[in-house]
């Protein structure tokens, strides 16, 4: 069991998780594995024949998001790698945990219900229990209030 799994999708909602992962890596010396999941569900209601092309484009975009997070980690002296998968985020986190058995898993926690987040506050704990059951990883929640000041991130 090693490593810190941190699933990100970029943007402001990933800032707390990235910051927490960097802080944890600094404290434990573990390698961070940033996970980006390509999900094409939004294409359900439109051009289905474009799925192949757009999958590659979003894959490339995901690589960029991961590179951006890795760069932040590297600047803070933490070691980080990027992992890209295709499917549903929740399922892919579980699959990754089953395969790689990370020591820590960082999940973003919304401050309030309705906030843009992978899971609702209610379902987050159930998901954390599931992760723990699968790979005995310690699940750490991070939210906007845990975010260090902008300067510290850099």
């Amino acid at each position: 069991m090693s490593g810190i799994l941190c699933a990100i999708r970029g943007g402001p909602s990933s800032r707390p998780t990235i910051a927490t992962s960097i802080q944890l890596a600094q404290e434990t010396g573990e390698v961070i594995y940033y996970l980006y999941v390509v999900n094409l569900d939004f294409l359900t209601h439109s051009s289905s024949s474009k799925t192949n092309n757009i999958s590659q484009e979003i894959h490339d975009m995901g690589e960029f998001i991961l590179l951006s997070a890795q760069e932040q980690a590297s600047e803070a002296g933490a070691q980080a790698e990027g992992v890209i998968r295709e499917g549903h985020v929740v399922e892919e986190i579980i699959t990754y945990c089953e395969e790689q058995s990370p020591r820590y898993v960082i999940l973003g926690r919304p401050e309030e219900e309705g906030e843009d987040n992978l899971l609702s506050i209610e379902r987050l704990q159930t998901f954390a229990d599931r992760i723990n059951e699968v790979c005995q990883a310690q699940v750490i929640f991070s939210s906007e209030k845990d975010l260090p000041p902008e300067e510290e991130l850099k």
């Binding site: 970029g10 939004f42 289905s48 092309n53 757009i54 484009e57």
Partner: protein, 567 residues
């Protein structure tokens, strides 16, 4: 042996020709000797020819008729009914068709006299009135349900339209034996509503696009936009908007945004700015400049085909106005995002390096070939109208030439055609055909016609803004398809509208209206979907806040242009 075969074939052809000629002569002679004809035309209250009206020559009392002969009206509403001689004195013409009131007209005594002498006569133009039957309400309800299902996303667009088509035909076939008034139309009639020019144009363009989008041209263009700008947002923003807009003028907006959004997100991340400040103006530009050509948007393809408006007509009558609107859009976008965009952005060296690495043409050979074919297609689009070359034929010629030249995996190419969209269009044509058939469109046209009167300026304003506002909330493709016969009616009755200006107003309203709300255009939804995958959510409220002023600015400028151009 061979000579004998050739001689035999020639003899056979000669014999067949002589036989057919003699047959024709006999028939003509028979017609001339035994019948005279009544010619005429039938139109509806919207002055449109009515096809398929059964015209019967009858004699008898009001309660009991004997049919002497009958004929169906053609595409142009004309009919020619043969009259057996001698013709009874009290003969009448009976006009009947589903969804129209049955009309009986006496044949004037003078005409009867002429017919008795073996002369043909021309009957006055007949206007038949619509009849509201249960089929009217059923077709109207199905259309509204289809629109609702599409708008709410409860069913996939194609599935919604396809189910609507099935329901209409099922009711016509299974319901009408029980209650004849449930009849809407039969399958052969339903299929006549499909505009094959539109279907083949879209299909041909999809094949060409499938080749172009895999060449890396979008990555190359976007990277060079960044390079040219040197990180100065005042240059980068309009250049990206222009790339997106010009691409949308030739490719469909959804494809353009599918390709541009991930690349734009990468540029924004590399420059450490929010992707939304580039994406929102880009999608606006896509919706605006897309309307500048006949092939830029599905709505323009529909309008061009229905209104017989050529590629050149769009270029001369709409493109200048659209580019004026685009200028307004650039200024608006800059003012809206000036805080985020001010100054030179120094990006992350690692990400910029990656951006450069990706900003390469991946298949130069195919791009070159696609460029040549694309140029040839443009020439055909522009000059083809001189030989009445339909845009769909140009698209098919271009697509097949390109495929023959590059010899791709044909299975892959056929797979690249978005059949889902084509089935959507075919089904939609039938659903819209149904409301046209039962008279809903005519009823709407009559109401709008009465409201507007004969004032062209008012008509332009109403059509443009009505289309723009409705396109914010309902899918603009079915809306446009339904509005086309209405616009055709207004074009006939409003003095000055014969320039087809109202079709351009519909084009502007339907396409630019898409900027007013997130659900207003498929390209908006795609952009929002991808942006969300990058962690940047575009909410309905956010889009409305940014989009509504963009809509007002661009539609107003375009409308001013149309006023200047046509009045």
């Amino acid at each position: 042996m061979a000579k004998t075969k050739v001689a035999g074939t020639i003899l056979f052809i000669l014999a067949l020709t002589i036989f057919l000629f003699s047959m024709e002569n006999v028939t003509a002679a028979d017609i001339n000797s035994e019948f005279s004809y009544i010619f005429g035309k039938i139109q509806d209250a919207q002055l449109q020819p009515v096809k398929g009206v059964k015209v019967s020559l009858v004699s008898g009392t009001d309660l009991e008729y004997e049919t002497l002969s009958s004929a169906l009206t053609q595409e142009d509403g004309s009919y020619a009914i043969n009259v057996p001689i001698p013709i009874p004195e009290q003969s009448k013409l009976l006009f009947s068709r589903h969804h129209f009131e049955q009309t009986i007209n006496n044949i004037p005594a003078a005409d009867i006299e002429q017919l008795q002498l073996g002369n043909s006569v021309s009957f006055p133009l007949i206007t038949i009135e619509r009849e509201i039957t249960p089929a009217f309400w059923i077709a109207a309800s199905i259309f509204v349900i289809v629109l609702f299902l599409i708008a709410t996303g409860f069913l996939h667009n194609t599935l919604a339209a396809f189910a609507g088509t099935s329901a209409i035909l099922a009711i016509s076939y299974l319901g009408s034996p029980l209650l004849p008034d449930l009849y809407i139309f039969d399958f052969p009639q339903a299929v006549t509503y499909i505009d094959w020019n539109v279907i083949f144009l879209i299909m041909g363009m999809m094949m060409v696009i499938a080749v172009v989008e895999n060449t890396g041209i979008f990555h190359w263009l976007s990277y060079h936009a960044y390079r040219i700008s040197g990180g100065k947002m005042i240059i980068l923003l309009p250049v990206l908007m222009l790339i997106t807009g010009i691409s949308s003028a030739f490719l469909d907006n959804v494809t353009t945004m599918l390709l541009m959004t991930p690349i734009t997100v990468q540029i924004a991340l590399a420059l450490n700015i929010s992707p939304l400040v580039l994406l929102i103006p880009e999608v606006f530009a896509s919706n605006v400049i897309g309307v500048s050509t006949l092939i830029g948007t599905p709505t323009n393809i529909l309008i061009g085909s229905f209104g017989n408006i050529t590629f050149n007509d769009f270029l001369t009558n709409l493109t200048p106005g659209v580019f004026m609107a685009f200028l307004g859009l650039i200024i608006y976008s800059w003012l809206t995002y000036r805080k985020e965009l001010t100054g030179e952005k120094a990006g992350s060296p690692l990400l910029l390096e990656k951006l450069e690495e990706r900003g390469k043409i991946t298949n130069p050979e195919n791009l070159k070939k696609a460029g040549w074919i694309g140029a040839g297609m443009m020439l055909l689009f522009v000059f083809g109208e001189k030989v009445h070359l339909l845009p769909s034929v140009t698209a098919l010629i271009g697509a097949s030439a390109l495929l023959i030249w590059i010899r791709p995996d044909i299975e892959e190419m056929i797979g690249a055609v978005d059949w889902t969209t084509l089935v959507f269009f075919m089904s939609l044509f039938i659903v819209v055909g149904a409301i046209q058939e039962v008279g809903l469109i005519s009823a709407i046209a009559t109401v709008i016609g009465k409201l507007i009167g004969e004032n062209l300026l008012l008509a332009m304003i109403v059509v443009t803004w009505f289309s723009a506002v409705l396109s914010m909330v309902i899918a603009n493709i079915p809306f446009t398809a339904a509005m086309l016969p209405v616009i055709a009616y207004l074009t006939l009755i409003i003095p000055g509208a014969e320039s087809k200006v109202l079709f351009y107003c519909l084009s502007v309203g339907a396409a630019l209206g898409g900027n007013g709300s997130l659900i207003g255009a498929s390209a908006n939804m795609i952009t929002a979907g991808i942006a969300e995958r990058a962690g940047y959510k575009i909410s309905y409220k956010y889009f409305l806040k940014k989009g509504l002023p963009a809509l007002i600015i661009t539609v107003s400028i375009s409308l001013v242009w149309l006023f200047i151009r046509f009045t």
